[in-house]
Symmetry: C2
Subunit: 360 residues, 2 copies
C-alpha cells in the first residue's frame, strides 16, 4: 500500500509540475533520464547494470518533442486511472486504450505499440519505479513450489500443496506477501521438464528449497519474485541451466540484468545468484561426453560476447566459456537422464550442493 | 490405477507376443497402425480427426525394419520401467536415457530425438493410449482458476484460492481427480493477458465458470484437461481467441484435433467446444474498426486452408473466414480495451454469453 501511494503521488507530481510551469509562463517540459547505451553502466559496487546520471528534457513547444510530450502525459494519466481503479492492464491493452484520433485531425495519439511501450519505459525511469508498480503487467511465465505460503489478492496459497502443477507466477508480483517460509535457498531451473522431474522426486522437500522454473528466459514477474525472496528473506539463489550460451545468458540476466532493461536491474536482478551447472567440467565429471551436441554458430558468437561481460570476468567463468569455445560442444541438462531418470535429483544436484561446487 | 494396470499389461503383451513368435520359429514382427496422411480421416459421427484402419508390420529379420524393431522394444521396455517405478519422464529425457552405443560397434540405438519421438507415437497408436499414460510428459503451459477443487499427487488444490497466478497446468493430467466442481462451463482464452484481466475482474466468480488460459496453441495437458472437464462433467466449453487465422486454428485444434496428432484427437479434442469471438461481426458491432490490423500473407494463406476444413463448413464459419479474406484485416481481443479496460469482462463477454452468440 505504501508503494501505491508513493507512485500515485509521483504521477500527480508530474501533472502539478507541468501546471505550475504553465502558470509561470514557461515552456512546459519533463526531465527524463536517458536510457540509451551511452548511459548504461555496470556498477561494480552493487554488481548490476544500471543507468547513469544523464538526462534529457522533453519540451511541449518543440516540434520534435510535442508528440512525445503529449504521449507521456496521456500514459501518465491512464496509469493514475489504473491505480485509482485498483486494476492492472497489459502493455497491449494500454496501447489500445490510449490509441485514438485527435479531434478534427487525422493524427493519432499513438500508431504502434512500440510508441506506448517506449513512453512507459520513460515513466519507469522518470519515477524510479517498475512498470508493474504503475499497474502495467508484462508477459507471465514460470512456476513455483516449495515449503512456503504467500498471500496474493486475499488468498493464502500454500506452495507445498500444489500437486504436479505448481503455482503459475503471475506477471505482477508487487503485492504478494510472504506469509511463511521454511526453506534454505531458492533453486531456479531453466526448463519445465527439469522442474517436473525435481518436483516429482520431491527435491524441494528433501533439500528444503523453493523450486522455480523460468521456462526459458525468465519473465519479469519471475525475476522480481526471485529477487524479493533473496533480498527480503536472505535466501541464496542457485541457478541451473543447460551448458550453452543461451543458458549462461539466462543466468546473466537473472544475476546482473539486461542491457535493454538496465533501468530495472535494481528491482529485478539478483547479484548474489550462483550457478550450479550444467558446466563443461560436469560433462567430463559425470560422463556425459557422448551426449554433447555440436555448438552452433550462434552459440559461438554469443559465447564470445559473454566473455566480455564484466560479471563474467571471474577466472572460473572465463575458463568455462573458453572451454566451450575450444571443445566446440554444449550439453543439455536432460543429458543427465542418460545416467538414469533420477540421477539428477538423487546424485548430481545433492553432490554439487554439498560440495558447494558453484560458479560465481 | 485401472489405466496404469491396463497400459502395463499392454506393454507386457508386446514382449510376450514377440517371445512366442520366436518360440514358434517365426520372424518376429509388430503390427503398427499407419499414421501418415493417407490414413487420417475426419469422422463425421464423432466430429473428430482420427486414424483409419490401415496398419503395417515391422519385422525383425528385414534390413529396412530391424533398427526400428529394436528401437520399439527399447522404448516399450523403458516405458514399462517408468510405470513400474511410478515416475514420469519428458520426451527429451527418454531420448537421452535410451541413446547408447551398441557393444562392439559404432552403431547407436538412437541418434536423434526425432527417432525416439517417432517410436513413442508408434506405441501410442499400437496400444491405443496417450503417451501421458505411458508416463511420458509433453511440454507444459497454461493455467486454470475457478470454483473447483482437484486432487493431484496427494494434494487437494482449491482452484478458487490461487490469487492472481492460478494453477500451472502440468504436462500430464491423467491422474488428476476432480474433487468438487461448482461451475457451469469452461471458459478458455488464448492469451495470458486476457486471463489476468478476467481473473482480476473476478469473471469466473461472477459468471460461475472455470477459467483456462492456453498461452497460445494449447499444450497437450491443457487440451486433455479441457476435454476431461467436458466429457466427465458435461461442462460446455467456450473458446475466446483473437480474430485471426492463428486464433481460429487454436480453436480448430481444441475442437477437432490436429493432423499430425490425429491418433490422439479422441483423447485430447473437445468436439462440443463453441467459439465466442472475437469475430469479424464483433468488429462492427463493438466499434473496433479503427483497431484492426492488416492481415498478413500468412493470415490469408492459413485462412484459405481453414476454409477447406470439414469442421469449418458451417455457413457461419464460411461467412466469418470469407469476410476476413474480403476485408483484409484482423483484430486482437485486446482491441476491446479501447472501450475501457473492463469492457471485455463487464460488457462484451456477458452480452455474448447471454445471447448465446457463438460460432459452432
Amino acid at each position: 500500500m505504501i508503494i501505491m501511494q508513493t507512485v500515485k503521488d509521483k504521477l500527480k507530481n508530474i501533472g502539478e509540475d507541468v501546471l505550475s510551469q504553465i502558470k509561470e509562463g514557461k515552456n512546459p517540459s519533463l526531465e527524463i533520464p536517458i536510457r540509451s547505451f551511452s548511459n548504461i553502466i555496470y556498477d561494480e559496487k552493487i554488481k548490476l547494470l544500471r543507468l547513469g546520471d544523464k538526462t534529457s528534457r522533453r519540451y511541449f513547444f518543440n516540434v520534435a518533442h510535442a508528440k512525445k510530450f503529449m504521449q507521456t502525459l496521456i500514459i501518465a494519466t491512464r496509469c493514475k486511472d489504473l491505480l485509482d481503479e485498483k486494476i492492472h492492464a497489459s502493455l497491449r491493452e494500454m496501447f489500445y486504450n490510449v490509441k485514438h484520433t485527435l479531434q478534427n485531425s487525422n493524427e493519432n495519439t499513438f500508431d504502434e505499440q512500440t510508441e506506448s511501450d517506449d513512453i512507459i519505459e520513460d515513466l519507469e525511469v522518470m519515477l524510479g519505479t517498475l512498470r508493474e508498480q504503475l499497474h502495467l503487467n508484462a508477459d507471465a511465465s514460470g512456476r513455483i513450489v516449495g515449503n512456503m505460503s504467500i498471500i496474493d489478492a486475499g488468498d493464502t496459497i500454500h506452495l507445498n500443496k500444489l500437486g504436479t502443477g505448481g503455482w503459475h507466477i503471475p506477471s505482477n508480483v508487487e503485492d504478494i506477501k510472504f506469509d511463511r517460509i521454511d526453506a534454505e535457498y531458492v533453486f531456479v531451473v531453466e526448463k519445465d521438464a527439469a522442474f517436473e522431474r525435481l518436483n516429482e522426486d520431491k527435491f524441494w522437500k528433501k533439500n528444503k528449497c523453493i523450486l522455480v522454473s523460468t521456462h526459458g528466459q525468465a519473465a519479469r514477474g519471475t525475476r522480481r519474485l526471485i529477487r524479493r525472496l533473496n533480498k527480503e528473506h536472505d535466501l541464496p539463489v542457485i541457478v541451473f541451466t543447460d551448458c550453452d550460451a543461451y543458458g549462461w545468458y539466462i543466468y546473466s540476466v537473472l544475476k546482473a540484468g539486461s542491457m535493454n532493461l538496465a533501468h530495472t536491474s535494481e528491482k529485478l536482478a539478483t547479484p548474489d545468484a550462483k550457478f550450479i551447472g550444467l558446466t563443461m567440467t560436469d560433462i567430463v565429471e559425470y560422463d556425459l561426453k557422448k551426449h554433447t551436441i555440436k555448438a552452433t554458430e550462434q552459440d559461438i558468437r554469443r559465447a564470445k560476447e559473454l566473455l566480455n561481460y564484466k560479471w563474467f570476468q571471474h577466472p572460473l567463468w572465463q575458463r568455462e566459456i573458453k572451454l566451450m569455445l575450444k571443445k566446440g560442444y554444449k550439453a543439455e541438462l536432460q543429458a543427465l537422464a542418460s545416467r538414469g531418470f533420477k540421477f539428477i535429483s538423487e546424485t548430481y544436484l545433492p553432490d554439487k550442493i554439498e560440495k558447494k561446487d558453484f560458479l560465481p
